[in-house]
């Protein structure tokens, strides 16, 4: 779907969307149309339950006195509190309502919203962003889809008085949307297409946007002593990879921000094999790495003024004659040893080496890792919040604030010493599991042992990476949860 910005037309044609405030208050465009139609809109409003509450819609076909084929009235609630997130929701709603309506082109008319702190141009840009995000579709493997099942909407025109400003505001948002789309693509791709080497290839493609990419293979990782990461991948035919992506948009010498992603391209569980039901979901057990890759693309596309390093540990966890066994003891790059009690608690093993490597080599300002790490987090917080664990209150607060702004909620959970005893091993420095109870916390406690004094936050995104339901700006499927959150974190706090 293409998006463009234009001046409002004097006599609009085709399909048009206008906004209505709570209390059936039409915006400027709506009022003009109402006048032109001899009060038809006001009559339609009066005869319906539509009050202009947020997300209410009223569709009018070929309204009398107007050249329009279709007019969609969308409620936006109260003007006060109509923020960027609400504007994005508006755009998303338009796509959801009219994406398959038969219209190839739809115009969304944006007026100044009384009470909102946003300018009309900012509302327009954010509505366009929301529409773009909601229009995502992963359909490359549908070879015989009927025309009527495909979206009809090809072009969304956002009409607003200062359309030049809107277009300018939209540019960085579009960059973020590109990053989101890349993340969703990568998470949606099946595991026979995306495996460590091909995912590394996807990373390399970011060099087009100016990202420096370096790929380490098993030989190099062995030399570095990454016994934990390599142990996870040793049952697979595919070679494990560690990819380093660097975006140097900040001042030379500034310590980079580091983002680390778990990239288990498929997780069978290994010898501790998972039950068959639902195992296909494990293709997106590389969701954390997909977020890091998408984030790097977004930052590069919008030329963020900051130094960032993204590190993703890419492995496939397979059972085989060469796979690691429960009870194996592996030595991590940090020198600490781990008794692998459950080969299905593999993500933390990958992250252990990736985290250590990152802080050792890059001396980052902070490290934030993302991982579809535990089933326990799905019980703890469900699909509404990601779990946030951090050794730094300020960093945690910034993440919570960014999450609220973009609608990707994170909820802080404890990383307290009392939980540490659950991962004590009889023969090694630690075990890789600590029992069912507090399972997400003990996973975080494990990771914490590989953080050496650096500010650190860990996001357990197992519950939010894939959605069974459509969200305001996220169609069901891969959500790319984390890209917008971290982009906002960087933009609000770390760009000069």
């Amino acid at each position: 779907m293409k998006i463009s910005f234009a001046k409002p037309a004097s006599a609009p044609e085709g399909a048009l969307v206008v906004t209505v405030l709570e209390g059936r208050l039409l915006g400027a465009t709506g009022q003009a149309l109402d006048a032109e139609s001899g009060g038809a809109l006001a009559r339609a409003l009066a005869k319906s339950r539509f009050e202009g509450k947020k997300d209410q819609t009223l569709l009018l076909h070929a309204p009398a006195g107007l050249k329009l084929d279709r007019l969609l009235l969308v409620g936006i609630g109260k003007g006060k509190g109509f923020d960027a997130k609400a504007a994005q929701g508006l755009g998303g709603l338009v796509v959801a309502q009219l994406g398959g309506s038969g219209d190839a082109e739809v115009t969304l008319a944006i007026d100044l919203v009384e009470g909102s702190s946003l300018s009309a141009a900012e509302i327009a840009a954010n509505a366009a962003f929301g529409a773009k995000l909601r229009s995502y579709r992963f359909d490359r493997y549908r070879t015989k889809e009927k025309a009527e099942d495909k979206p009809s909407l090809k072009k969304l025109v956002v009409s607003v008085a200062d359309h030049g400003d809107a277009k300018k505001s939209y540019q960085p948002l579009e960059a973020v949307a590109e990053g989101v789309f890349l993340t969703r693509d990568l998470a949606s791709e099946p595991a026979n297409i995306i495996y460590p080497e091909t995912l590394a290839e996807q990373c390399k493609a970011l060099s087009e946007q100016g990202v420096e990419v370096e790929v380490l293979g098993e030989k190099q990782m062995k030399k570095l002593g990454m016994g934990a990461l390599l142990g996870v991948g040793q049952g697979s035919e595919r070679e494990s990879q560690l990819v380093v992506m660097r975006w140097n948009g900040g001042a030379e010498g500034d310590a980079p921000l580091a983002f680390i992603g778990k990239g288990v391209t498929f997780d069978t569980g290994g010898i501790s094999i998972k039950p068959a039901g639902g195992m296909e979901d494990m293709k997106w057990d590389m969701g954390g790495s997909a977020v890091v890759i998408g984030l790097m693309k977004a930052l590069a596309l919008r030329k963020a003024k900051v130094n960032v390093v993204g590190v993703v540990g890419l492995v496939e966890n397979m059972p085989s004659g060469t796979a690691q066994r429960p009870g194996d003891v592996v030595t991590t790059m940090s020198g600490q040893t781990v008794e692998v009690i459950n080969t299905d608690a593999e993500g933390r093993l990958v992250l252990a080496d990736a985290l250590w490597y990152t802080q050792d080599r890059f001396k980052p300002h902070f490290m934030i890792d993302l991982a579809t790490l535990t089933g326990a987090i799905i019980i703890a917080l469900g699909d509404q919040y990601a779990g946030l664990f951090s050794n730094d209150d300020k960093l945690a607060d910034k993440l919570i604030a960014a999450g609220k702004d973009v609608g990707e909620g994170v909820w802080r959970l404890p990383v307290d010493d009392p939980y540490d005893k659950q991962i004590k091993s009889d023969i090694a420095d630690m075990m890789n599991v600590g029992g069912r109870e507090g399972g997400s916390i003990t996973a975080a406690m494990f990771l914490k042992r590989f953080v050496n004094g650096v500010k650190w936050a860990h996001l357990d995104i197992a519950g939010v990476t894939w959605s069974k339901k459509d969200g305001p700006v996220t169609p069901k499927g891969a959500t790319a949860f984390g890209v917008r959150l971290l982009d906002r974190l960087v933009a609000d706090n770390y760009e000069k």
Binding site: I378, A380, L381, Q384, W411, D416, G438, G439, T442
Partner: protein, 464 residues
């Protein structure tokens, strides 16, 4: 076991004989780092010519807060109760306040299941220790400090006694009787069937014992002071009902009244120390039994206040009993705030394990007070989300609400949201899911394996 306070023969730091400090130094000189590091809670008994001498590690003096002192006391008891020592004098060169805290730790740890459940005492559980004398420079002051702590400590023991009681002993009427014997508390027993507490009735209707709503009143302030209301889940035994639980570990379900026990204990503590506040305790008491009269999955029941509930799972009964208790409390007692405690869900154990209880609150201020009280008392909490984002899970096809969802997910959050429907928005409310904390699977500094009395100290502090 008795706890006394006395002056040492001379100032603790400079005494003739027995002079712990000088003697301790002499003993220390004979030990190396591997024997004794003087870390907090370390205890090393040494048999000397004068009898037993015990070295107690205190760690850094600057780090000796109340929590550390209690743990030292608790651990001292745990190490020495069965060591053959009958009288123990403890001179740690601490202030009277600090000495009282150590004694409090001793008291908290010095609990075991009442002897009534055995014909002959278990050899391994016999305490030789009969008296602990806490030595400090101003024993009267220490005694005064301890009086208040002791009131709370005894209440913690009471709560543990209730939790450990088997389901055939602590039946609903026996629970009511026990609540009626708390000194300084006025008990009113409400018949759920007559009062329209139909959800509580539905939970208990399969049992041979009638359910009851126990109202415990403590008046420490003027009549006009709106009371704080504490609500506890008091399922004396939870079979799960028709949605019956697996047999394995079902005996643990005698403790499914841990929330009610905490509420009872808190009231006992407040009354014993004459706290200047008004508090109402409400305990929803029922046995969730299996029988021909039991509630069925799919039953729809109208709760107190009028909301209807579809019972999807008869084993999600705690929230039903609490819902009526909360609605009743809100309507009848003009609460300044409501805090409920319940061993409510298994999910909260997956979320927070055994170190912290789940805290849900509609009031940030109340949540912060509870969190801080938990940190101070080592009855730790962690706040979890309470938002309408989760409400799809408790939407029923035919009633106002259903009591849970079969989908894998945050049942503890769903339960909290369910309860919220029964509390008016204008009353600050907090819900503590203590399923992981009411009983401990291993020995801790202040409680051995078994019931902990979790919640009593927390509530006592937050209301004080």
């Amino acid at each position: 076991m008795r706890i006394r306070f006395a002056s040492p023969p001379g100032p603790v730091s400079a005494r003739a004989l027995p002079a712990p400090s000088a003697e301790a130094e002499a003993l220390l000189a004979r030990l190396d780092q591997n024997d004794f590091k003087a870390e907090p809670e370390e205890v090393l008994p040494i048999l000397t010519g004068e009898g037993w001498r015990i070295l107690v590690g205190l760690g850094e003096r600057a780090a000796l807060d109340d929590s550390a002192l209690r743990r030292i006391g608790g651990n001292l008891f745990a190490e020495l109760a069965q060591a053959g020592i009958v009288h123990l004098a403890v001179g740690l060169d601490l202030s009277p306040e600090q000495t009282a805290q150590v004694a409090y730790g001793v008291l908290l740890r010095a609990w075991r299941a009442p002897a009534q459940y055995r014909k002959t005492p278990d050899e391994e559980e016999i305490w030789h220790l009969a008296e602990v004398t806490m030595l400090c420079d101003a024993p009267d002051m220490a005694r005064t400090c301890f009086a208040r702590l002791e009131a709370v400590g005894r209440a913690v023991h009471f709560a543990r006694d209730l939790v450990v009681a088997p389901g055939n002993v602590l039946t609903p009427p026996a629970f009511v009787d026990a609540l009626g014997k708390i000194p300084g508390i006025e008990l009113e027993v409400i018949n759920p069937n007559k009062a329209g507490l139909n959800l509580l009735q539905a939970v208990g209707q399969g049992s041979q014992y009638k359910p009851a709503l126990a109202v415990l009143r403590y008046r420490g302030a003027g009549r006009k002071d709106r009371p704080a209301v504490l609500v506890g889940k008091g399922i004396t035994f939870d079979t799960g009902g028709i949605s019956i639980k697996p047999a394995k570990y079902m005996e643990m379900m005698k403790g499914d009244m841990g929330g009610g026990a905490a509420v009872a204990g808190a009231l006992m503590a407040l009354a014993a120390r004459n706290a200047p506040i008004n508090v109402v305790g409400v305990v929803a008491i029922a046995e969730n039994a299996v029988s021909g009269r039991a509630s069925r999955p799919g039953d729809v029941v109208k709760g107190y206040g009028g909301l209807t509930v579809e019972i999807i799972d008869t084993d999600a009964e705690g929230r039903l009993a609490l819902a009526d208790a909360l609605a009743y409390a809100a309507k009848n007692f003009t609460p300044s705030k409501i805090i409920d405690l319940a061993t409510l869900t298994g999910a909260v154990e997956i979320a927070l394990g055994f170190e912290r209880a789940g805290l849900f609150a509609t009031s940030d201020a109340l949540a912060e007070q509870l969190f801080a009280a938990g940190e101070a008392e080592d009855e730790k909490l962690w706040r979890l989300p309470l938002t309408d984002l989760y409400d799809d899970a408790i939407k029923s096809d035919i009633a106002d609400l259903k009591n849970c969802s079969w989908e894998r997910g945050p049942d503890h959050i769903h339960a909290a949201r369910f309860l919220q429907h029964f509390v008016p928005d204008d009353i600050p409310w907090a819900h503590l899911d203590i399923a992981g904390l009411s009983e401990a699977a291993e020995d801790g500094p202040l409680a051995a394996e078994g019931p902990t009395g979790f919640g009593v100290r927390l509530l006592d502090r937050v209301l004080a």
